[in-house]
Amino acid sequence: MRPERGSGPSAASTGTRERALRARGGRPPWILVLPALVGVAFLVLPMVGLLVRAPWSTLGGRLLQPQVLSALWLSLSTATVATGLCLLLGVPLAWSLARTDFPGRRLVRALVTVPLVMPPVVGGVALLLALGRNGLLGRYLDAWFGITLPFTPAAVVLAQVFVAMPFLVISVEGALRGADRRYEEAAATLGASRTAVFTRVTLPMVLPGIGAGAVLCWARALGEFGATITFAGNFPGTTQTMPLAVYVAMQRDPEAAIVLSLVLLLVCLAVLATLRERWTNV
């Protein structure tokens, strides 16, 4: 039945009328829908498994075990410090890539993104070769300052910075390229030096992009496994982060592994929620 045109809509039927009048898009093709459904199931099922098999009755006690707490604390603190370092180094690097035109800029950008595609274990080996006791730079750190990095919490942080910084750089560089540069010109006509333009205008305007980059960076650092275990080792209390603790627990006490995994999952969900908020805001 076709709704009549021009008849006064009654309050109750307005919604259905609108629906009826909207042009129908046709049935979505199954060749796309079917794989999509399988894809969703594949992503969701493991998480369901985690929830179903969790030892809910003993959860509280297990969470408060000292090795869980120390691993959690180590993970949260190193990921946060690593994110701070990434911001400190990555934002200027992103700015250089987006706003200046130095020779070899393309090469530098390519090099910066290598850790994105490099297997983290390889990254760990590379870090050892560079900063290990006999490494390229580590040799001098040891000889001149008595600093040995490998197998310390500092090494955990460095491993995380190595794998996570590209996320920040790429995301901030994108934000900088997307920002309207004419605001920077306006600031310059008002007498702002390049530094002032950056701190007073550019930085506040790309802050959401930096925030999103930092969240991505932090999540990546939190989940870091390969480079950490290679470069920092797996010593409970000093370098055993949550992912390492999960791996170790899985060998002898699967229930403990589930608890640790749940905690990590929860943290990741919180991160995702933050990101979603940003995406819907923009």
Partner: protein, 376 residues
Amino acid sequence: MRPTDDASHQPTASGVPATPALEADLRLRRGSFTLEVSLTVQPGQILALLGPNGAGKSSALRALAGLVPLTGGHVRFDGRDQTTAPVERRPIGMVFQDYLLFPHMSALDNVAFGPRRQGLSRAAARERAAGLLDHMGLSAHARVRPRRLSGGQAQRVALARALAVRPRLLLLDEPMAALDASTRIDVRARLRHLLEEFDGATVLVTHDPLDAMVLADRVAVIEGGRVVQQGVPAEVARRPRTAYVARLVGLNLFRGRAEGTTVTLEETETETETGAGTGGPALVEVHQAHRGPALVAFPPRAVALYPCRPHGSPRNVWRLRVEGTERFGDQVRVHLAGRLSLAADISPAALAELGLSRGDAVWAGVKAAEVECYPG
């Protein structure tokens, strides 16, 4: 600079002691486009750069600000050479086309931004900003973020922000372009008033002749990267020198050669098989005698149309054919072509009486007294 006569009272190079606030010779090249523009603006004077899109007027403005590097020439403020000075060191204030108020700052902080960068304390900068906003009738909006301001308010905040650095040269890039038509008249009048108070030089860029006429003391018309005409607005409006300016100010313009009160027009490319009978160049009778290259201008409303050759008053009559008609205000604009191309404004009643349609032949007449003739 081209010689201009009677109405122009602008200071020329001849013995005016005051140093111009701005004296610039701008040369820049981008791809195949070259800009070569010389500008001189006295303190307190407002110069409008008028021109079509892509003529180079915005490039000229950005070059004055130092936002694009020159490939040649110079820029002098108050006689001091600042050709290579970086943007932030130039004594300029700039109002951008869509104002570019910093979205993360209040109106007050936007205006205080410049003074802060000049080394004023936060309190002093805010005080100066508050004073300017107050002067512009915006003190109620000082704490508001730019996106909550109307177009006219945003324009005034942008002007206040540019003036807050106490510039010697104020640059305005299409200051009216971001406003909707309904608010333009008010905002334009208000802007004119505020600009008059500024004691430095002002250069504004516009493609709207009305903006140029209302806001500026002098107009420089830029076409293809060159200044093609310069003068006071009334002069430019009355005596256009190029087809572009003539179209802007709504005049029929012809180039020719004067011999006494008769001007022989240059041959146009389209020529006659309209049955006018007489070939050769069109002649225009004017009321003042001239000699040599001349420009001839008359408004479309001065043109009368007749179904057959008129006898008596008009001294200029041509047999032309109708190319098209369009509504123009409460008149009808008839485009005519033949030995010369011109536009005529007649009333709808007259159009109905003549019964004209495209391709029809008609006689067009203009009184010599209505024709402006000046050296070309």
